[in-house]
């Protein structure tokens, strides 16, 4: 039974080993943190997009909800940052529960409604009339609890959690039932899959991962604004990374993020438009010639991708 998990767990162990060792040789901690952040987000998005086919264009809404949930818990309720991160994850799940009715929409309609929901959340959080709670557009200051190392390892923990979730889905009956829903909802429900329950669970797990990531990001960054944590770029990057790597596998989104986020740091930081142009063209080429990502090249050659 457990044997089938071995390839996935091998990938996870390799990633963890690298991320535990690298800080001792490589001093750019902020790059490593952001890399882990996008790895976790990519796996989180993979849970919902890769296994159920719902493309959450407003994925950043959960990220921002997590960052703000944690920040409010830390600043107003004086909770320790570590538990604040968990509260951030829960805040995102609550938003996810509110948005469950959106799952009744299909395909592109869901994507647009979800995008609209994340924008609505952004305008609520950034609204000056809520300044007492969210500080409105003026941003959050967590510098009193700033701790680079603790938040770094918290993020690593979130990443491991996200990868384990995907490994579970990749190898369990639950993941299989989600894939059945993705292929054909009616047939899946005839075969005994509880469609509404299964996709809602996947949706909330996906939201939880994004919320935890957002909260850890807020803690690590210490000072942030609504426009930072609700930036559409977060959704866009994550979607492009996952599409490039290949959905529905543990390794695909990891590979996609490792390659593209490194590339972004190489060419994108000073002039983001170079990278924007590059990934815009990349999306077009992928959709036309390689809709299932890099992993599908291997899969076509009958190679098992964990």
């Amino acid at each position: 039974m457990l044997r089938r998990y071995f390839p996935s767990l091998g990938v996870i162990l390799a990633i963890v080993a690298i991320l535990l060792c690298l800080p001792h040789f490589y001093s750019n901690q902020s790059f490593l943190f952001n890399m882990m952040l996008y790895l976790a987000l990519a796996e989180g998005l993979n849970i919902i997009y890769g296994f159920t086919g719902y493309l959450p264009f407003g994925y950043v809404g959960f990220f921002g909800a997590g960052a703000y949930g944690a920040a409010i818990a830390i600043t107003l309720l004086h909770i320790s940052p570590f538990f604040g991160v968990i509260i951030g994850g829960i805040a995102a799940v609550l938003i996810g529960i509110i948005l469950i009715p959106l799952l009744r929409l299909s395909g592109a309609y869901f994507a647009i409604a979800n995008l609209a929901a994340s924008q609505a959340l952004y305008f609520v959080v950034a609204n000056p009339s809520l300044e007492k709670i969210t500080q409105g557009p003026y941003g959050i200051d967590l510098s009193s609890v700033y701790n680079a190392d603790a938040s770094y390892y918290t993020m690593l923990g979130v990443l491991v959690f996200a990868m384990l979730l995907v490994a579970y889905m990749r190898n369990s009956n639950f993941g299989l039932s989600l894939l059945a829903i993705k292929e054909d909802q009616v047939t899946a429900s005839l075969a005994g899959v509880n469609v509404v329950k299964a996709r809602s669970i996947a949706w909330m797990l996906s939201a939880f991962v994004a919320g935890l990531s957002g909260a850890a990001f807020g803690w690590y960054t210490a000072v942030f604004y609504p426009s930072t944590v609700f930036s559409l770029d977060v959704s866009v990057f994550t979607i492009v990374f996952v599409l490039f790597g290949g959905i529905g596998t543990v390794a695909g989104p990891l590979v996609g993020t490792l390659i593209l986020y490194s590339m972004y740091n190489f060419i994108g930081i000073s002039t983001p438009q170079y990278f924007q142009l590059f990934y815009g063209l990349l999306i077009i080429v992928l959709v036309l010639f390689l809709p299932d990502g890099v992993a599908s090249i291997l899969q076509k050659g009958k190679v098992y991708v964990p």
Binding site: G107, A113, A116, A117, N127, I283, V287, L288, P291
Partner: protein
Amino acid sequence: MNLFAYTIIAGIMYGVFFGLVGLGLNIIFGVMRMINLAHGDVIMLGSFLAYWLYELLGFNPLLVVPVAVAVFFLVGFPLYYALVPRLLRSKDPEMLSFILFFGVSQVIEAVIIFAFGNNQRSIPFNVFGSAGFDIFGQRFPIAWLVTTLVALAAFGFIYWYLQHTRMGYATRAVMANRDEAMISGIDVNRISAVVFCMGLALASIAGIFSFFIIGASYPSMGPELTTVSFAIIVLGSLGNPLGTILGGLIYGVAIMFMQSYFSSWANILPYVLLIAVMLFKPEGLIGKAARSA
């Protein structure tokens, strides 16, 4: 009472313009069943075209309209034949086209920022003369009147095209059922290509006049406009071009009321409207195809 009357009348003028903003997206959706996620970026391109023609050659925005139509027909045909037929043969054309047009939108935005920098541009409000005009004792800028008339003309043209031309007849057939239209000998690809270009041209016309209603243009304004447009066409009737004007009017009047009475929450309106309609009124407004289980 004065504010109320002003809000209603301004809302109707805004609404007709916002109908035009959604029209291009809706006509493409009606024929191709694809959501052009680069719609907002085409609007932005239209406004930049108007800005440069005005700055360099002193073109009146009305004169830019034929230029924009010509440009987008020249660009649209090759773009259609390069991207769409290949997509239609794929496994999931609806979702893949959604992602593909998103890529197109990113490319447009990046190229425009390269070319012109990420700055705001605008055309002076008094380009049509500084006189105002009165409706029921309220004074409005002449630019709003011109914009409203252009938008009405666009709707009139689409009505004439769909109802009174042979190609419009074929277009309605493709809208009703793509496969059956093909079987009856209609060149579906050619119709789709023409309508695709028409959709782009309409979006760019909305862009030319966006200065007077929405305000200054900037290269990254596209995604927000796309969402607003989508809200409008969902409100009106998805896939029914003439129904767009209804969505535009609801949106225009609503946004005017929000701005007059609850201005700090006005920017949230399109998103809330969009979600509410999709969740609670999908049968009447968007039909069965949008929703499952």
